[in-house]
Amino acid sequence: MSLRIVVCVKYVPDATGDRHFADDLTLDRDDVDGLLSELDEYAVEQALQIAGDHTGDDAEVTVLTVGPEDAKDALRKALSMGADKAVHVEDDDLHGTDALGTSLVLAKAIEKTGYDLVICGMASTDGTMGVLPAMLSERLGVPQVTLLSEVSVDGGTVKGRRDGDAATVRLEASLPAVVSVTDQSGEARYPSFKGIMAAKKKPVESLDLEDLDIEAGDVGLEGAWTAVDSATERPARTAGTIVNDEGKGGDELAEFLVSQKFI
């Protein structure tokens, strides 16, 4: 049995850089370097492990992204980790697309690519909404098995462990399904030199909105289901009091907490 795995990844601004808004209140991408969202590396890792565990040679891992030209960097990283091929949805009309729109584009691209299993990271490191996997499951009409700290595929069944606030639950669903994994699912591998070289030869398919039968007006900033009206940079915190502990640091800190009425 073949197993087609599609991993959804995002090209995000480096969180250690200074992220700013552009005049249209979307992310200013010129201002900061981009990279494959760290949380998506865990999804790529689990996809590769599931494909590796799959008996037979016909498990295939496709990485998929929606984003500008530079987003190819994120795909290359995933390919160098070991994914087999990549799909890049790129269209000028996609600029400013929100979560609802992105889920529409991804769902259409996943259907076009063909899939048995979709794997996502738990959230992007820029928007941090964590809603895409649930939206994809809803749009594709297949089970969602999300926020897994442990995942495996056994025949036509996906199993996993979800650590919730109130309980840890064990989940099971039949394929096809949409999975998301947390940063607890297992460390992501580093690309090897061989992997980096091999990635350069792997196919990257480009799709635009027309290929996916999506009207430009349904996505992008104009078509978004939400609008950002203002963005204000948080004022720098006023410098606090910093003291060296000379043996009474704990007692002095207690005095501060009393002065602030915490005790």
């Binding site: 969180a15 200074d18 992220r19 979560a99 609802l100 889920s103 738990m122 490191t125 941090t128 909404m129 964590g130 809603v131 895409l132 996997p133 649930a134 939206m135 499951s137 809803e138 009409g141 089970p143 969602q144 098995v145 926020l147 919730g164 606030d165 109130a166 840890t168 639950v169 064990r170 989940l171 099971e172 669903a173 399904a177 607890q184 978004a224 289901w225 939400t226 609008a227 950002v228 009206d229 963005a231 940079e233 948080r234 606090g240 009091t241 910093i242 060296n244 502990d245 043996g247 009474k248 640091g249 704990g250 007692d251 800190l253 207690a254 501060f256 907490l257 009393v258 915490f262 005790i263």
Partner: protein, 320 residues
């Protein structure tokens, strides 16, 4: 006045605090209609009425516990169709965001997550969010459909306001997708007796400097002296010293307490993303150059193994 649907987070009928905060916010937008699902749903009614719910829609069925998320979406959609609300508000938990996401897709509506404030505006609710690791504050609106908004804990004070709280049973027909993901095992989290991390007024966190699982006892002792929740940095969690459920940061929980005390935490961007909106920030670290000191209201450069126990004793002495 317009009705506003509020999804109720409760444990066997005990309403959790973020839902009461949601009711405060919902009253700014209209008349709150609460939706309570699962075991004990009807028991939530009195509490919800005390906080402004004009109506409480309840439904109980084994599906809510036996399958993941989708049965709850079916029920919330049934409530949405019976009420035609001006907005739908859901607590910003991991599950809450998934429920809101699926509902938004189904009803063709825009979705805003992790609001930290909510006001009535001319074109519908205006949601305030804190983005890019709290470097920016934004105001956003939903422009299509009925706004679906998830709200973070501590976004508003809990304000009692008596209302009718009429209880009605919600009729729910589960769709085919509802039984797609089976819950085949459940291990309830053991209660520590401490407040829930995201809801706590005070959070005491430990990081790499705590240097071992056994040393977290001194962090816990400080937390207990203040009635606080315990948090941990990713470094401490990755080292296996404290559970992931207590992780504060971008890949863990984001907290916004009145007081945040960081011990042995350097303050990497990953951590700052999860605690930067705390009202008062205190840090204890022996490295005077640690970036966490850029954020603090009060910082102690010193050995946490000296400072923290001394602080705990001083607090206990004052509290008598």
């Amino acid at each position: 006045m317009a009705e506003v649907l509020v999804y109720v987070d409760h444990v066997d009928g005990a309403v959790r605090k973020p839902t009461l905060e949601l009711l405060t916010l919902a009253r700014r937008l209209g008349d709150p209609v609460a939706v309570a699902l699962g075991a004990g749903a009807a028991d939530t009614a009195a509490k919800l009425a005390e906080h402004g719910a004009v109506k409480v829609l309840t439904a109980d069925a084994p599906e809510f516990a036996d399958y993941l998320v989708v049965p709850k979406v079916d029920a919330l959609q049934a409530a949405y169709e019976s009420v035609s609300p001006a907005a739908v508000l859901v607590p910003s938990s991991a599950e809450g965001k998934e429920i809101a996401a699926r509902l938004a897709v189904r009803i063709g509506s825009g979705l805003i997550t992790d609001a930290i404030d909510l006001q009535a505006g001319d074109g519908g609710p205006v949601a305030t969010q804190s983005v890019f690791a709290a470097a920016y504050t934004t105001n956003s609106r939903v422009t299509k459909g009925t706004p679906v908004i998830t709200v973070k804990p501590n976004a508003a004070p809990v304000e009692p306001a008596a209302a009718a709280g009429t209880v009605e049973t919600l009729s729910v027909t589960f769709g085919e997708a509802a039984t797609g993901t089976k819950v085949v095992g459940r291990t309830p989290r053991e209660s520590t007796g401490r407040p829930e991390l995201t809801e706590a007024a005070i959070v005491v966190s430990g990081g790499r400097g705590v240097n071992g699982a056994e040393n977290f006892a001194i962090i816990e002792a400080l937390a207990d002296s203040l009635g606080a929740a315990v948090g941990a940095s990713r470094a401490a969690v990755d080292a296996g010293w404290y559970p992931h459920s207590n992780q504060v940061g971008q890949t863990g929980k984001s907290v916004s307490p009145q007081l945040y005390i960081a011990s042995g935490i350097s303050g990497a961007i990953q951590h700052r993303a999860g605690m930067q909106t705390s009202k008062t920030i205190v840090a204890i670290n022996k490295d005077a150059e640690a970036p966490i000191f850029d954020l603090v209201d009060y910082g102690v450069v010193g050995d946490l193994f000296q400072v923290v126990p001394q602080l705990t004793e001083a607090i206990k002495a004052r509290k008598g």
